[in-house]
């Protein structure tokens, strides 16, 4: 198998400097520090009973959330410069006149950035494994967190790549991709709260019976997705209990709330009439992420085509 030349070069390039091992070390230290801090705060005064049972789950939840934040901070910086940087370095036309297709260039660049984050996630697994000492956390939980982290990485990376292709200046591309990432992580939550409050006010004004509904936008949020997959996600992330239930009521389709995990959150919100295929947020989030990745990658390929009409001036 011939490895994508761009991927090959970028991978070599990334591991050749001292920055690479330094970043890995800092990453692990930060994660271990967060885990240690949570352990310290939870066991500061006493340790035992049900608290001991929840300790592993709490540390696991905080570690997973911290990992997602670290990914959100690192990925735009790594991806938003990869095409604009080539343009600024004046190596871009040399790449375009080769036989590589725009898709090969884009995927090569994307995979190289993602593979580095994958490396970070993999090297962090020993830190995660400490939670198994407390029991309760299952392998399924761990794999689910890794899956959500990786898919979020690909999504943020593809947004960064698109910004890198769209903006000529690297600094603009980096700023915009950070803004988009923060919107995805925080903005969607704020919007969801606003929409929910507006709905509640509207129902109160019309003297209607309160029907709890969650705005669809929360499904875009990686934190909510993570929270919906974590055993104690509800303690960390709002809207994590949301279940996307397709409710067939005459010609209407609405979202409603339901149970997240039986046994962990002992609460049931009745959903009627006749719910069909309830989906937790993380499942919908993964599908939405796939759409974002495909659209971003498609737009990137379109933007970097050398013979795109209206391209810039010659001399």
């Amino acid at each position: 198998m011939i490895i994508n030349p761009v991927l090959n070069k970028e991978l070599r390039d990334r591991v050749r400097t001292w920055r690479s091992p330094l970043l890995i070390t800092i990453y692990i230290l930060v994660l271990a520090g967060i885990g240690g801090f949570v352990f310290y705060t939870q066991t500061r005064y006493n340790y035992g009973g049900t608290q001991a049972l929840r300790l592993g789950l709490t540390i696991f939840g905080f570690l997973s959330a911290a990992q997602l934040i670290l990914i959100a901070f690192l990925t735009p910086g790594m991806t938003a410069s990869i095409i604009s940087g080539e343009r600024e370095r004046q190596t871009w036309p040399l790449l375009l006149v080769t036989r590589l297709s725009p898709l090969s260039i884009a995927t090569g660049k994307l995979l190289s950035a993602i593979s580095y984050i994958v490396l970070l996630v993999l090297v962090s697994l020993p830190v995660y494994s400490t939670v198994f000492l407390f029991g309760v956390v299952s392998m399924r939980d761990l794999l689910l967190v890794v899956l959500i982290s990786l898919v979020t990485t690909v999504t943020i990376a593809s947004i960064g790549l698109f910004c890198s292709a769209l903006f000529k200046r690297t600094i603009t591309a980096i700023v915009i991709s950070y803004l988009l990432t923060f919107f995805l992580l925080g903005g969607t939550l704020i919007l969801a709260v606003l929409i929910q409050n507006l709905n509640m006010e509207k129902q109160a004004r019309l003297n209607q019976t309160f029907q709890p509904s969650t705005p669809f936008i929360v499904n875009f949020n990686p934190f909510v997705a993570l929270g919906s997959a974590l055993p104690l996600g509800i303690d960390i992330v709002p809207f994590s209990r949301t279940l996307n239930v397709q409710v067939m009521s005459s010609s209407m389709t609405v979202s409603s709330q339901g149970v997240v995990r039986q046994g962990v959150v002992n609460q049931t919100v009745p959903v009627s009439p006749k719910p069909v295929v309830p989906r937790p947020v993380w499942q919908v989030n993964l599908m939405l992420d796939a759409i974002i990745v495909l659209v971003s990658l498609g737009l990137t390929v379109w933007l970097i085509r050398p013979l795109r009409a209206g391209n810039k001036k010659g001399g």
Binding site: T91, P93, R99, P306, G315
Partner: protein, 309 residues
């Protein structure tokens, strides 16, 4: 090998190219001369499949550059006027990367890279980091890069700009070597003496219009320019001068202080030969009979109007 037909490129209201047409035969070096902003780079970018013309066609080895860019990329090597290099990459890795981008298999790449390093005299720098090379070395490396897939055509945009005299001579020798290998080369430059020595044909472009194309001689004739002949006779200078003045192709004859006759001659090579024969048959002791051609710089200054200055 290269054919350009009525190439036009507009950016909004600005016309960068106004119907440029020319043709280049295989194995020739075509000098593309013009002031900054004349349209040289735009023409080369269109040929390099990096830009779409607003109107007109361009072909490399009979392949339309806008319809079949992938095929064209296999046929041509392109060296832009400004280019950068990657950091933290060695000379061999740099060439290996581009060779793999052209789909050349690993086994072949090694021998190609060795040959190219030898050709460009960079073998001793094979393990050096690219960003540590001098400007001249980087230019040669970029030329080597454009040759990794053994293209038939080379498009070189200002290949000698910013080079010191030695590096310029080395680059010129390298281009001669490539011409001998049968490559067709287009070189855009505004360093005119360099092109005059190297090129088999020249195209002069200004304000997006190609105002003269052909060999230096042809351009001179196109412009109805007179050649300057220098005739030196051992004795009988007055007789020689009178005989030369009788030729219908001679506009004027001046005698210099050291007895050399400077002849303003408007005929072609055959008529020039006839004049020499006349002098020899008249048993005049001709020591030398030589043409002092117009320099490319002279022609360029006469043809161009300094548009945009």
């Amino acid at each position: 090998m290269i054919k350009v037909e009525g190439l036009q490129k507009t950016y909004g209201k600005m016309e960068a190219l106004k119907g440029v047409s020319f043709e280049i035969k295989q194995g020739s070096i075509f000098g593309f001369v013009g002031p900054n902003g004349a349209g040289k780079t735009t023409t080369l970018k269109i040929l390099a499949t990096l830009m779409v013309p607003t109107k007109g066609k361009a072909y490399i080895d009979g392949v339309d550059v806008t319809k079949h860019p992938k095929k064209v990329r296999r046929l041509m090597g392109y060296m832009p006027d400004f280019f950068g290099v990657y950091e933290r990459i060695k000379v061999t890795e740099y060439l290996d990367f581009y060779a793999s981008c052209y789909g050349i298999s690993g086994g072949k790449r090694k021998s190609i890279i060795a040959d190219l390093l030898e050709l460009t005299d960079l073998t001793y720098k094979a393990d050096a980091y690219v960003d540590s090379l001098s400007r001249g070395m980087k230019q040669r490396l970029c030329l080597a890069r454009s040759l990794v897939h053994d293209p038939k055509v080379l498009l070189l945009d200002e290949p000698a700009s910013g080079l010191d005299p030695r590096a310029r001579v080395e680059m010129r020798e390298l281009l001669r070597e490539l011409k001998n290998m049968g490559k067709s080369i287009i070189i855009s430059s505004h360093i005119l003496p360099e092109l005059a020595e190297l090129c088999t044909e020249v195209g002069i472009i200004e304000g997006g219009e190609l105002i003269a194309v052909g060999s230096m001689e042809e351009i001179t004739v196109q412009l109805n320019q007179e050649k300057l002949l220098q005739v030196k006779v051992k004795e009988k200078v007055t007789e020689a001068k009178a005989m030369i003045e009788e030729s219908p192709w001679v506009a004027a004859v001046n005698e210099t202080a050291d007895g050399v006759l400077q002849v303003r001659f408007s005929g072609n090579g055959e008529e020039q030969q006839k004049l020499l024969r006349t002098l020899v048959l008249a048993e005049l002791p001709v020591l030398s009979f030589a043409e002092t051609s117009n320099s490319l710089e002279d022609l360029f200054m006469q043809i161009t109007k300094g548009v945009g200055r």
